[in-house]
Symmetry: D2
Subunit: 454 residues, 4 copies
């Protein structure tokens, strides 16, 4: 519990309390950011004349050494020094002496931790954006390679209309595009320096926080010191973006799981991504993909943790904010790994074209085409829909299908039907014609793929 700063107390910390309060375990990942922030702060102190040039050089050199020691595993955080900040400061004083003892002027752990977390989150966003771009590329590549494969399109998990399998893959692509948009918007609000807010009130020392912000490449600067130390919106917003992304991944995963079942049989996942059973020798399971589905629960849980922690806190820093870190770390790491897992799965999956097209060939899925045929010929759509519905009911009762009907039988259902209707009752023709913008029409999808391949 910050032994360096316990002069005011008459008793040493209780060992259980010390461990309960410490945040070092998860915070090893903050070390490089804490050091980066301290180097920037040293620059601001130097400009303010609170470190002379020699002292500044000593401090920066020592901080870089701590970073190296940490990278090489020679130096680790110690719970008796409470947190990453006190650990780094203590080591800095060991290495840089009196100059090191000057580093904490005009700052507090409150603005420091806000800074560290912002720098960490900025990197986490960039890393996640990189992975999402990879996933999108794989989706586009697989869509390009399957752009002539027809499969059933579903609503309510019931076969609805034939679509291109590539169109389904590109529907996943659109989700990811929105996720990237949200992450990019969030990044703007992350990219703000809180350094210089001090404990909550700024400082009376003549330090210019714009210097450290610039050194860190942060675009914005806090406008209110009380808000700066207690604001964790950037964490909540990022974890939300991860939650919705992970929800998308759960939906993609659900499709892969369904498609890999014996009943669908649309795809097969490669052996190297599958597990077997300890008891059933025949089993091939897509555990990887099931775990991606499940991890949506994990990230939604992280989001709830964060929002519940923030609820009802009074103004100013409260230690509660420490508990916002584990869900932040967990969400970023879970989402990153899940994106990679699905990228692997989609890259490796084998498309069972014959099975898909067989499933898409059922003529009942062409009912809408018949109704649209009648509409083109001038019949109000609602009447056309009812006429075809009656036809469906009749064929269902007889156990036949639309494709078995003769023009004569169709004409009996509605005199508007003519011979040309027969050419419409195939899945390929149906897909070919759904060429409205954004539709599954073959030339539309190819056009979209060309756009995306640029």
């Amino acid at each position: 519990m910050g032994r360096l700063i316990r002069e005011r107390f008459s008793k040493d910390p209780d060992p259980f309390a010390e461990e309960f309060v410490a945040s070092v375990e998860d915070d090893e990942r903050l070390v490089p950011y804490d050091i980066e922030g301290s180097i920037a702060h040293a620059r601001a102190l130097s400009k303010a004349g609170l470190l002379n040039p020699k002292e500044a050089a000593t401090v920066v050199r020592a901080l870089r050494r701590i970073r190296r020691e940490h990278e090489q595993g020679k130096w680790k955080l110690d719970a008796t020094d409470e947190d990453v900040h006190m650990n780094v400061e203590k080591r800095l004083i060991q290495l840089a002496g009196r100059a090191g003892a000057k580093i904490h002027a005009g700052r507090s752990r409150n603005d420091q931790v806000a800074l560290d977390l912002r720098l960490w989150t900025r990197d986490a966003i960039d890393s996640l954006l990189g992975r999402l771009s990879g996933l999108r590329k794989v989706l586009v590549r697989r869509a390009r390679g399957t752009s002539d494969v027809i499969c059933p399109g579903y609503t309510h998990l019931q076969r609805a209309q034939p679509v291109l399998f590539a169109h389904v893959l590109l529907s996943f692509h659109e989700m990811i595009v929105r996720d990237e948009g949200r992450l990019t918007d969030c990044r703007k609000r992350v990219d703000v320096s809180p350094l210089g807010a001090g404990a909550l009130a700024g400082t009376s020392l003549r330090i210019d926080p714009r210097i450290s912000a610039k050194a860190l490449g942060l675009k914005g600067l806090f406008a209110n010191s009380i808000d700066a130390v207690s604001d964790r919106d950037f964490a909540a917003e990022f974890v939300f973006a991860c939650s919705l992304l992970q929800t998308h991944l759960s939906q993609i995963a659900e499709n892969l799981i369904l498609w890999s079942s014996s009943e669908f049989g649309f795809i097969e996942l490669p052996d190297e991504l599958c597990t077997s059973s300890s008891i059933m020798p025949q089993k091939k399971n897509a555990d990887l993909v099931e775990l991606v589905r499940a991890k949506s629960g994990r990230v939604v849980g992280d989001l709830v943790s964060l929002l519940t922690i923030l609820k009802g806190l009074p103004a100013g820093y409260n230690r509660d904010l420490q508990e916002t870190k584990p869900p932040l770390y967990d969400a970023a790491e879970t989402a990153g790994a899940s994106v990679q897992a699905l990228t692997l799965a989609i890259k490796g999956l084998v498309v069972r074209k014959v099975v898909m097209e067989e499933a898409a060939s059922g003529s009942e899925m062409l009912a809408t085409d018949l109704a649209e045929y009648l509409t083109e010929k001038g019949m109000p759509f609602r009447d056309a829909h009812q006429a075809v519905a009656r036809l469906m009911k009749r064929t269902a009762t007889k156990g036949t299908s639309l494709a078995d009907l003769t023009v004569a039988e169709l004409k009996r259902a509605s005199p508007v039907f003519e011979a040309d209707v027969l050419s419409r009752i195939t899945a390929r023709e149906s897909v070919r014609r759904r060429n409205s913008p954004g539709g599954t029409g073959i030339s539309r999808v190819r056009q979209r793929l060309r756009q995306l391949s640029r």
Copy 2:
């Protein structure tokens, strides 16, 4: 359950099932949007030659009449027609006959409901932004009126450093600014037309969805029809923005509740916003503000509902999506009312300047000023901190305070202290000097208020 479209079935709906599945109760609010969308669709059908000019005019006229009938309470949604779309279509056919029966060509309830919800959400965002702007104005006005009032600044709910009360109010202002940013970013992703995606695959009719999008003033157009009908990201993102906003409101509320307590006594809420007790005649309670605090739970619950509903859904429209509506409506309405409640409370609160300044006058809050004084004189901050901490411990033991110390006593703690230190040990001087950018310094806060008043 859509009796207009049950031709394929041999049985009437089960009455319990019909009620369970219907969504009419909460969807009265969608009526104007559904009609607006149908008018735009009529335009696209007309352009495509699927409605002739006379039919188009009849349809638009009938739709406007339905809107009027609904506004005047003469026409209401009926659960046996399942949802807003079938209700409007049925009434349209009653009023416009054969022309009305043509309206559903090239669209489906799947793209229709997505459209209605997007139009509703766009309005909900605009309305919320309007209320937030009102809250910000009240905060700035109250900050201007109290810009000389000093109060304790807190961390860990312990008195930390004196600050301007206006600086605290402006810290709330910053939260709201970020909320507005998130809502504005979200609005871009709401402002996209899904109309023309049909059930999931687009249409074979030559309808141009750009026409309806433009008629509705929607900036974007869907890129993938499967995604367009199942995307509820806009709802989730909006409800998240409401959740974080409501979390901020809960924090502001917590402060108001604390400040109104006898123990703090910093503010008083006006009688017209307070309730009394049915048993304790003396009570004056800030129920309004407590409810704002509690409603953060409500909106976080809405967000969880939405994300949990979306988890693991297979591609294409699933009826599960209907359940995303109640949390969407509830979050928007709760957040809107809560903003208004807090606006009233902040507008009406009486500031107890004397109490605040008395509370801010404790010299222990000036310990940091002393440490910064020593730092200015060249002492490393960590040493300065320890020297002052020892001083605090000593005065605490003796039961005196910093303000009681003589220069001689201070010099004994550190020879660096000189006579000029005494002028530093007042709350006003402390606040005056914290003039770093974003700090609580008097001239800084005034500068900020000038910026915000423009």
Copy 3:
């Protein structure tokens, strides 16, 4: 805002605040419980001599009249009287005069609302238990009627081992049994009277709270008045029980949705529970069941609301507790309707025995049987598992199946195989033999059904 009790204020309530704070809309359902509680309280007052026999009779008569007026829709709650308690008290005073004005002695709205909610929740539990018992009966009946139907058992949604369809239905039954257990345990903690706790401290009047508790048939009595008025554990626990129940229902729903798909084709839902599409005339959708799946999100959201509201509240009644009501009501009503919806669906579903048995006939699902055969003959299970896995790999490569193998080929895989193995390679034999307690063995399942039919 309780105009009856605003004597201490100099201003009338603000109209927006009055509406924001009022809870009358959702609380119509509390009226009978509030009256029941008041009747019981009148009895305690009478025993304490605070109402004389005539006054007590007048009060009870008037309360019964209010109940009738409310049932008949002649009297409704009014938001300007804030809540159900002030509404009932005001009407009581109108009807019973001076005697009515005595009713609030020794109680407060704080203990009153806790009482009303407990009585409401007790009834909600009993009603839900009744519906669950109905669902279990339907499950048992359908299991009895299909106790010879074999279908694939799944793990990871991959076919694993053949099982009885009845065994799957009974696995749902077990979930419900646990839900009933949790509700029954929760009921004990609901069944406690808080009446007499007053605002928070009990009362100085000599009223015995055991009298009202007994009159209400409540088994327990509060032990601490501060706890009694702020405890909403009973609501949280009940809403959790509903959440887990609803999660079970979502799992059952997921199975019904999968089974109704063309790909599985195991069951068909009756027309009267299904909807069609406004655009696709052939569609038959199980919206009812999808909504049950989705509503798990709703109830989990209710639970999160409740817990988040309770987080961090200081001791004693806080108005935040009012916000625990909507999720409580919503969870109970959603769970009740969802149980009924699934009961209908399971009652009405048509079992496609031929399809199920065809799906279960794949010999790869008998791999475990072969491994267990080898184990019976003394081969260590791990070796048996590997031997059969190799066999599976070989048949997969050749495109044949286990059922095609001759004894000679089997012997080549392991000399332990003998001719009797052939009789083992059928789904029916596999199911017949899994007769361990709790297993899917035919006689085991029949035995279980006999137990449950008693």
Copy 4:
């Protein structure tokens, strides 16, 4: 990914997939339970003749050796063997050879992991119950030591009526008693053996699962094998019990934080539990207690994770269930540590009796006593309430207080007042008289303390 069981595959696992799928990191804690379960299973196999006595002895000896190796850190789980089960089995085969290779007969990892988690949870409950009992004892001890201290009782964080500080502490005690009740009820549903359910269908080997259940001291036995492997209700229920407990802890923490503020000043926490500030030398912060408050968010997040993961899973084991483990572990460990933290805090806090009694001495808190006085004398309570409210308003306007009133002035407010009223207007008299069952009356609280000290 279970290399021991990959005979059916032609490719080695992908290294990323292998790590993504593995659960070894968190599962070290399951090792003793997995071994305990295997020893019990060996007994059942031996009884069934599937292990001869010598083999059984070898297996048990080897399992015990693995447990020792693990305790001593000589043997650790390895991610390439996927999970705890495959790791233990592999090591067992290394140590016990052919006998070891027999252990997996008649069981699967699906029933095994359900068993391990149940055994772990049973221990977690017992450990938590132990800590809760410790917290209750400290609460009772501190209540006994402060049973004459009067403090304000609050509603809406406004001073309401004077109460005993001991009564407040005992209100916390009541919450804990209910938490214990829920944990105990949950334990019944944990205490059930799933071993013998196999993968999902039981086994064809003649193994009696009652033998292993009995060896493990588990009271119940699964009734349906499909349910047995997929049921994680016990985890959800336990995590809910932890969530509600942690919510209680957050409320207790909130009180401690408020009471430790300068404004309340009711208590002081001991130095050894507090931290200071890196910048403000005077600060003494109750971080320990703030973290307890925050951790309620963490555990609620765990609960949401669990429920969301379970939502919509189809029947049978799905790998999603693996993700239920981290929230289960986290909730148990967070709750356990938080209970201990608060136990320390309550044990160590210093009660500032003088400050509390000064705060409780305000006569406005005695308004209810005056109203009850009038009620005793026959005035209807509602009239009495209004009379006193008018009195309060008058004194407030004049800036005096109830205690300043003369009998004459009181009589002017209501002729019912007589001289004996003056003796009622003290906090001690108020507390003394609130002697109704469960009330704060001094003799009531002492009586309760005697009950609890037994």
